[in-house]
């Protein structure tokens, strides 16, 4: 077999493996989210289906699958059905360049970070299509909000990531992880704490999670961009949201928290543990902070995160040049 064929087979295996990983993770994450919500409210969360409610999400998934996908009369048939697919399809690709372990990378590419940042932009387009195609004012408003939000928060996120790439000198995530060490004082978060902070805030905003969940603000917009979706149409959006959470937390782990580096345990478990800690923090945020107002959301971005990330980038460049 030629090298190309081996690469192709490797990629196919990786895509199937990531699809399975995503499906299993999302099922678990939804369960975890509801458990966290429950415990924060001092109630048990899902408890009745399966031991400690473990099968609740499986039951919910079956319910979603068996529901009829409906389309409103005025909706654009092509855009309406394209949107959930466009939301979910790129998310599998996003997990390919992420190093889950020393050799556990689906697609070893020297521009891995750029690939992730580029393809994560498609999600915004999907939300926009969903909002436009639904022929619903709530959906339209949600889509408009999501575009303003995503465009705004992408910039500080990119600048924060850029500061880290300055210090590491590579866009290959595997190499970036390899440059860091097993203990916290070896990690990039020690040299770039501000970048980590900005990245994490932007990541929460990019995945439309609380307190930045304006595109799907229940109390104002019913369900925002996915108001008109039922069954698996909604299911795919849901799946995409949780997969995006996994992606941003994986990238954060690789960039700032030393990726698979860690003592004693094999690399994969360290990566998973760090990723899940970040996911838990995101859930913790969700059940603590109230939703921002739209002007607050944009002010936070343009008046705080953007100047801060620019300063951080300039400072990093200066330090890199001087020392």
């Amino acid at each position: 077999m030629s090298f190309d064929e081996i690469q192709l087979i490797r990629m196919i295996v990786a895509v199937v493996a990531t699809a399975l990983f995503v499906a299993a993770s999302v099922i678990f994450l939804v369960y975890l989210e509801r458990k966290v919500a429950g415990h924060v409210h001092r109630r048990p969360g899902p408890f009745e289906v399966g031991p400690h409610g473990m099968l609740q999400t499986v039951a919910d998934a079956v319910k979603l699958l068996s529901k009829q996908p409906l389309k409103p009369d005025g909706a654009d048939p092509v855009l309406f059905w394209l949107a959930p697919i466009a939301a979910f399809a790129p998310t599998l690709l996003l997990l390919l360049p992420i190093p889950f372990g020393p050799i556990l990378t689906g697609f070893e590419v020297n521009l891995g970070l750029l690939l992730i940042l580029a393809f994560s932009g498609i999600n915004v387009l999907a939300l926009c299509l969903a909002g436009w195609g639904s022929d619903n004012k709530w959906a339209m408003l949600g889509a408009a909000r999501s575009v303003a939000q995503a465009v705004g928060y992408e910039i500080p996120l990119l600048l924060a990531v850029l500061a880290v790439t300055f210090t590491s000198g590579t866009l290959n995530l595997s190499e970036m992880v390899a440059q860091q060490g097993p203990y916290p004082w070896h990690w990039n978060i020690m040299t770039q704490p501000l970048a980590f902070f900005i990245y994490f805030v932007c990541a929460v905003a990019e995945t439309n999670r609380n307190p930045f969940d304006l595109p799907e603000a229940e109390s104002e917009l019913t369900a925002g961009f996915h108001t008109e979706y039922s069954g698996m149409g909604f299911g795919l959006f849901f799946l995409a949201e949780y997969t995006n959470m996994i992606v941003v937390c994986s990238v954060c782990t690789a960039l700032f928290l030393g990726g698979w580096q860690g003592p004693f345990l094999p690399g994969f478990w360290w990566f998973l543990a760090k990723m899940y800690v970040l996911l838990l923090v995101m859930m913790w945020f969700r059940w603590t902070f109230p939703r921002l107002r739209f002007d607050q959301l944009l002010n936070l971005n343009w008046k705080w995160l953007l100047p801060l990330s620019l300063l951080n980038l300039l400072g990093t460049a200066l330090v890199m040049k001087l020392f």
Binding site: R42, R43, P44, F285, W304
Partner: protein
């Protein structure tokens, strides 16, 4: 200067976010207050307002303390209570000019029905009862799929005692 102070305030405001995280974090690890109902029951029923019930007469536990004054039925804002007095004695034929007070009705309800579906648990009936003959039962598990099951005859328990 003002702008700088505003900025400083905003940065200090971040501390409130940490405070919020502390509160929810503490709740996450504290004891749950929700009870797994069919497997466990609640214990603090002292202040629980279930459907109302009639207090038995301490002198005659087989009968209610109620004197059928109708105050409860009159004060009930939702009209959930229906009281029917015991009938007055028939006027004695031999004494047509007898005073009305002489043929006093026995003080007590002939019928006391209560529709739990209408009740708003405001407690006005229990509060206004001159004899203190109404109280909230501590029954938290009052549930049914039939609306008729919530139309209680509050005298029933006394009748059952008689049998």
């Amino acid at each position: 200067m003002n702008a700088l102070r505003k900025m400083g305030e905003d940065v200090l405001g971040l501390w409130s976010l940490v405070k919020g995280l502390k509160i929810t974090g503490a709740f996450f690890f504290s004891k749950q207050v929700t009870v797994h109902y069919p497997r466990a029951g609640v214990d603090n029923l002292a202040t629980f307002r279930g459907p109302i019930e009639l207090v038995p007469n301490p002198e005659d536990p087989a009968g209610p303390l109620c004197i059928a004054c109708m105050t409860c039925a009159a004060t009930c804002p939702t009209g959930a209570i229906l009281v029917v007095k015991k009938n007055a004695l028939k006027p004695v034929d031999a004494a047509p000019d007898q005073n009305k007070t002489a043929r006093k009705a026995p003080k007590g309800p002939a019928k006391f029905t209560y529709d739990y579906t209408l009740c708003c648990q405001c407690g006005l009936c229990a509060e206004n009862c001159p004899k203190g003959a109404i109280r909230f039962s501590g029954n938290p598990y009052c549930a049914s799929i039939n609306k008729k099951d919530f139309e209680f005859d509050l005298l029933e328990k006394f009748r059952m005692n008689m049998d």
